[in-house]
Structure formats: C-alpha cells, structure tokens
C-alpha cells in the first residue's frame, strides 16, 4: 500500500526534480573544471573541423589527381622510350617482347609486323644498344581522352662487335595512350631538325 502511494505520488516531485537539475546545470557551468573542459572540447571540435576540411580538400583536389596522372604518364613514357632503344642481340626475344609491351596502337602493329625481319637484322649485326634517359617532360595531357605527349632527351650507346661504341643523343617525341595496362607509346619519333626538313 505504501509502495502504491509513493508510486502514485512519484509524479509530484517531478517539478522539483527538473528545477533541481536546471540548477545543477547552472551550477555546473559555473564550475571552472566544466568551463575549461568545455573550452577545450570546443577548441578540439574546431581543430577537428578544420583538419577534416583540409583533408577533404586534399583528397578531392582535381589538380592533384591531374598531377599524378602526369607523373604516371611521364614515368611510363620514359620507361617505354628507354625500352624501345635498348636491344641486345644475345637476348633478342626478350628485348623485342619488351618493345611490344611498351607500345599500343599503330606503333605496336608495326613492331609485330616487322619483328621477324628486324630480329634477323640485329642478329646479323650483333649489336647491343643501351639507352639512358637524360631528361623528359610531358608536353600535353588530356586526362579524359587518355592521351599524352612526351619529349625525352636520350643518350643511346650502340656497341658493335668491331670498333668503338657509338654514342648518340636523341631528341624524341612520343605519344602515349592510356590502356588497361597503363600508359603505352602509340607513336615515337625523332624531333625534326629544321635543316633536314627543307
């Protein structure tokens, strides 16, 4: 019976309870510990918000994605140009495979078509070519179309069975196309010299 009474009357002190907690909150905000904790939390929230925004900006930066694509294209282009100028008659198949792997499109087709004749030629000449990329730059990049233009300064050393190794420097212009297997050369040629052109 007593239980019932208290249970029924339990609703009555509700008002005083709310009053009490409101007073406690007021008392709580006056508490220096709470004020300091609140200030720190607000500062931390501000820093977190700022940091989060910076990070969001950093990850959703189109220019950065473009820059990465540019560097990927350049790295692939330089490697492909180097592969295309490296050939050892003692491991002809491996070298020509790497030529084919570095290329796509028309250039790739030309290499596949001319492979046998070229292999014969090199086997006969017994030459070893090594290439060193001196410098390279991307001249144009169309990220959407997946096309890029590169220019590469190359030093090629050709060693024949007789005589001194011949060193020549090449100015190469290449076109790259993006494929499922990364950037590949679709065209490669020497930069034309004004005098020879006409």
């Amino acid at each position: 019976m007593a239980r019932q009474r208290t249970a029924r009357q339990g609703t009555a002190p509700e008002g005083t309870g709310r009053e009490g907690s409101a007073g406690a909150v007021r008392a709580g905000t006056r508490n220096p510990l709470v004020i300091v904790a609140l200030a720190l939390a607000v500062c931390a929230a501000g820093a977190a918000g700022w940091g989060g925004w910076l990070r969001y900006e950093a990850t959703h930066d189109d220019a950065a994605a473009f820059a990465r694509t540019r560097d990927d294209a350049l790295a692939a282009g330089e490697q492909a140009v180097q592969n295309m100028n490296t050939l050892d008659h003692r491991s002809l198949e491996k070298g020509l495979d790497s030529w084919e792997q570095s290329t796509t499109g028309d250039l790739h087709r030309q290499l596949v078509d001319g492979r046998d004749a070229f292999a014969e030629q090199i086997a006969e000449a017994k030459t070893v070519s090594t290439a060193e990329v001196l410098s390279g730059a991307v001249t144009e990049l169309d990220e959407r179309a997946g096309r890029a233009g590169v220019m590469v300064a190359l030093r090629v050393t050709v060693t024949a069975p007789k005589g001194e190794p011949a060193v020549k420097e090449s100015r190469l212009l290449g076109s790259l196309t993006r494929t499922a297997g990364g950037w590949k050369l679709s065209a490669l040629g020497q930069a034309p010299v004004g005098g020879t052109g006409g």
Partner: protein, 255 residues
Amino acid sequence: MSTTRHLVNRRRRLATAPPRTPGAEPDQASEQATATATATDTDADAGPQAAQDTASDLDADTDATAGSDTAPDAPGNAPRGKASRLRVGLPAVLCALTVLLGAFAVWAFASAGDLRDEPARQNTALTDIGRTSEVKGRISEAVGAVFSYDYASPARSDRAASTYLTGRAVQQHKDMLADVREQAPRQKLVLTTTVTESGVEFLDGDRARLLIFADQSNTRTGKDEETTYAAAMFAVDAVRRGDTWLIATIDTFTR
C-alpha cells in the same frame, strides 16, 4: 523519478550496510514522509527520520560517485544526487570528446599535410596552365635571343644576355658562345636559334625546369655562303624575378 532513486539508494544501503538493516522499517516510513514532504515542497518540514534518510542518501551517492565535489553540507535529495553525477559526468564526457576530436584533428592535419607534400602535387607543371604556358613562352623567347648571334651587331647578344640570364647561366653562356664570338667577325657568322619544342618538367612557384629542343642555323656570310643546321637539346632551370622568368642554369647533359 525521485521515488526510484530512493528505491535504488535503499537497495544499495541494504546491500552495503548490513548493520543498518534494523533501520529498514523506519527508512521506508521516512521515504513516504519525504515523498509527501517533497510533494508539498517543504523539505524543512520533513521529520528527523526523513532528514536522516536524505543524509544517508547523500552518503550513498557520494560513495557511489567517488570524487564528487558535492558540498557535504548541501541539503541532499535525489535531484541533487543527479546533479552531482552531472557535475562529474559533464567534464568527463567533455574530456573524452576533447581527446577524440583532438586525435581526429591531429590525424586529419597530418594526413592533409602528407597529401599536400606529395611530390606530384608540388609540381604544378601542366596543372597550372597559365604559369606553364607563361614560363614556356618566356623561356623559349629567352633561349632564342640568348643563343642567337649576329656578327654585325654583337651588342644585341650582350643585351639579351643581361636581360634573360642570371646566376650561373651568365658564365655558362659566355663560355658557350666564346668560340662564336671569336670567329664571328672573320667568318661573318650569323647564328640563329629557334626553340622547336619545349616542355616543363617541373614548376613550383618561382622555380621551373624545362626541357628544350632547339634548332640552330649557323650561316657563314663570307666568300662562299654556307648554312649548317644543328639540333640542340638541353634543360634550363628558370627563376621568376618580378613578373618575368630568367634562365638560371643551362644543363647540356654533358658527362
């Protein structure tokens, strides 16, 4: 609300303080007294039993929430107990929040910094289209002017050198053109350099590196006129001074 608090406290008392069990009966009575007392909103009117009850209530509360800063002389009741919990709870929650948010902030700043320092991002060649074409145009012009020489007006070459060159490039240029300068008057040399292709390898603010392919035509206008062409390739480091780009070093890839 306050009723359940009383019940909880009572159970706690019963569990933790066995010697007090005989006082359980008056306790219950006092509970009713408090309930009625608070209902009429006159705490002071509650009997001595009720006073004892609320006092022990407070004891139990302060025991349960160790480190509570509730003043011992405060007239304790259930809402007060809640308040004291709130006082401890709020700073604790805020501290936890501060630590979590602070940790997130540190991580976010660090990772944003890492992303920003990425080498690809530092290099704004092609990503900054305006600057890229500006430096390309300006350096192509500079290379053309600096590596051209007309025996008839050697002063123009000097002027170009002082306009477009800075730092180490000044001496490099002097050495490169030494032969031309020497032979020019005798052979009536006209050297013309045209940049055919240029690409920006690297661009970061006021510094840039460009790869240049250029054609050089060398014309001897002496007895038998003769023009030879040469293909040149080199890289230049450029620096921006004011609103113009200057050549700072010339790298001809010599071994």
